[in-house]
Amino acid sequence: MALPNAVKRNAGDGPVLSVQGLTTSFRIGDDWRPVVKNVSFDIAPRETVAIVGESGSGKSVTSLSIMRLLPKYTSRIEGSIKLGGRELLTLGSEEMRKVRGNEISMIFQEPMTSLNPIFPIGKQIAEAITCHRQVSAAAARGEVIQLLEKVRIPNAKSRFDDYPHQFSGGMRQRVMIAMALASKPRLLIADEPTTALDVTIQGQILDLIKVLQEEEGMSVLFITHDMGVVAEVSDRTIVMFRGDAVETGPTDDIFHRGRHPYTRALLSAVPRLGSMAGHERPMRFPIVDVASGVMTTPEAEVDRAIETRRPPILEVKNLTTRFDIRSGLLGRKSGAVHAVEDVSFDLCEGETLSLVGESGCGKSTTGRSITRLVEPTAGSIALDGRDVIRLDRGALRNMRRTIQMVFQDPFASLDPRMKIGDAVMEPFIEHGLGTKARARAKAADILKRVGLDADMMRRYPHEFSGGQRQRIAIARTLMLDPRVIVADEAVSALDVSIKAQVCNLLLELQQSFNLAYLFISHDMAVVERVSHRVAVMYLGEIVEIGPRQAVFENPQHPYTKKLMAAVPIPDPSRRSVKRAISTDEIKSPIRPVGYEPPRRQYREVSAGHLVQV
């Protein structure tokens, strides 16, 4: 397909990157299956180009093709990719190496598996510096610490030597960002760089990128599902749909005058913060048909109230989880990460409690502590009246049927050697809920409902896109018909249309089976839609909790206010509005040995709406 000529570009400058007729295919059995078809676009200096599109439409593959990082023997790249006039596809491997990380660097979509598990993160970032520049180790270290601070990792100096598994999802993502920015590249490819970040940090990161763009003349290829971010950062936008770039144009045009039905569908489905004002209960997303762009199912408020008379299904009291920090040769305990500190809440059947908060504030750890995947330090957890902490192994196993978890990093949570069909069917068979054939039928059904094809069951995790893997993870939890689901960033990697579909599915299931969700998310718009109540966490503690309407419409705690204010608005005309770059000190949850946190007091603002004082 031809590139539309209506691309505004600074005259004089040639494009930094020029992609012409890019077609990338994967080998499936003996055939080659194209997943990116004849895509062409240019990126000018200092320009930000966003790629948006359906999950699995080939965005990540496009970016990996540019970097030539796809597996050698099972993929094929055709077309032409020119960096500053130089053809990359025919470059020798040593020259290509010099391009990577130096001229083009990339932020990968899934930070957990993309970081080397056995090297300290500081070292991994430093490597990006030292392999292209001659700097001393000490200088590199200094630079890395600066970078870590820039991406707002608290206690950067002491976390230099920590390993990826000791970081939260968002912190890992920030490490990836720091790594990519370390060498000040000419072109930055950012594949969903902010999905795991809360809106405040997301804003800061976007600002950081903007600053670099202005100072260093960096161009950015930005892949994201967040139309708010697109509106805020991109000059031009490419819309991808099933392997094709269906539309390319200035962001403004795309947002207001999108021609392709998918573009229109995409934009009309974008949830906007504040659209729920006046509604008390969660609301279904409207479903827009991607082929025609016509809304097929209108949005609707769910019609069932929560039965609060029944005792809550999940009761968490004074939950505290700390991770010891050991240092020195002797491995003495030198402090602890107070990841979760004195957290109490309860969750009723049929209710959605959303957990929002800064990246690294302990949301995932809360979820994991409740399912006893990490051992809590103190506190009590009652699930359906039974004390979770004191369960023996058999009972724990049964308990896990009741409560299921969607992991934040779906790729890492899938066995790389197991076909996803087996992975999805596994819990069902494991708990003896039915025959293999029934499991297969059920798995196929659920996969279809989360927007995947049943014939994908034969493929392995690495053959999927990030969003597809996330849906597989959701499908797996649904196999058991649990009563509580801890959904840790379960829909963050999905494009709006699929996100709507999956959220509607979750709401529907909640209605029919009275499911309770602990919904951990950074996407405030989605949180607003789906939750009955919202808890805001900060540095391991709940600072504000209450009915959604109360918290969103009447935020009390300063952090909550900041959070609400930082949500980007999907409107390109507001681009020029600048955030004040926050210069406040980054707070750290790391405490010295023997630190006793003060007892917190809560103030009741309105019925059920508590705020820490």
Partner: protein, 303 residues
């Protein structure tokens, strides 16, 4: 609302099995290995039907001969036909090599996985492994023989009894390496998030081990298996010098090689063939192992 995919028929487990086989077949080394291995097996069991000379037939007048039509592999210093001996020896060596290797592999994997996965058992199982590693082999073998040979001989007859004994002896004296290696791998694998995810879905521990841990430590096990078959064949021959192997009129590859070593210059064919047979067996098993490994690893390049 679905992704771009090529239409495919519904998957049945049968198809999946065939898929594994298809991947195996895509591996030329593996196919060649399997072919050679099958050839060796068939030759060793069907060969005596074609080459009908009795392996223990002594023809002292025809001793130390080079290859000829009557004796394609030549003869040894008592006039045994070497081809017949190699074929007969193959039956024993293959059977012992494979069963002993499987036993050692089973024990090693069991101990390795248990101690790697279950913290409680780790200390005791690894100290047991240390003990077995430290035990002097020869005295241990002598004691085992002394205690069990006659009982087994009485229970199963001389041949089967000795076979069981040998397999048992090799098995329980060679599982330790596998155990330590598997344990190391398990320690690394068990901390990965997908194990946590499997546990969080309420999988029983042994299922986690079988379905998630084992496939991910398979490549080391495969290497242990290939190396194990070679050492089992050689160890068997060493056993017979202690008087605990098969009686001396049961040829085995290892012993043919040992007996022939001194005749290297006189009748080179005497060592060439058993040596070749052992090497080919091990090589072919190695390639089969490689192919299985590759078939199990969805990410490696497939050729």
């Amino acid at each position: 609302m679905t992704d771009a995919t090529i239409a495919a028929p519904a998957v049945s487990p049968d198809v999946e099995k065939r898929g594994l086989w298809r991947q195996f077949r895509a591996h030329p080394g593996g196919v060649a290995g399997l072919a050679v291995f099958l050839f060796i097996v068939v030759a060793v069991y069907a060969g005596p039907l074609i080459h009908t000379v009795e392996p223990n037939k002594i023809d002292i007048r025809a001793k130390n001969q080079g290859p000829s039509l009557a004796h394609p592999f030549g003869t040894d210093n008592l006039g045994h036909d070497m081809l017949a001996q190699v074929l007969a020896g193959g039956q024993i060596s293959l059977a012992v090599g494979i069963t002993a290797m499987l036993l050692a592999l089973f024990l090693g994997t069991l101990v390795g996985v248990l101690s790697g996965y279950l913290r409680r058992l780790d200390g005791i199982l690894m100290r047991l492994t240390d003990l077995f590693l430290a035990l002097p082999l020869l005295p241990l073998l002598l004691v085992i023989i002394m205690l069990f040979r006659d009982t087994l001989r009485a229970a199963f007859g001389p041949e089967t009894g000795i076979f069981i004994l040998i397999v048992f002896v090799i098995g329980i004296t060679s599982w330790m390496h596998t155990a330590r290696i598997v344990r190391g791998d398990v320690l690394a694998v068990k901390n990965q998030e997908f194990i946590l995810a499997a546990k969080s879905s309420g999988m029983r521990e042994h299922r986690v081990i079988l379905k998630h841990i084992l496939p991910n430590v398979m490549s080391s096990i495969m290497v242990s298996a290939t190396l194990g078959i070679a050492s089992a064949i050689i160890t068997e021959s060493a056993l017979s010098f202690l008087g605990l192997g098969f009686p001396s009129d049961f040829p085995t590859w290892g012993r043919l090689l040992y007996d022939g070593a001194n005749f290297l210059q006189l009748t080179p064919s005497r060592v060439l063939w058993p040596g070749l047979a052992i090497s080919l067996t091990v090589l072919s098993v190695n390639f089969i192992g490689d192919a299985i490994r590759d078939a199990l690893d969805p990410r490696t390049l497939k050729r």
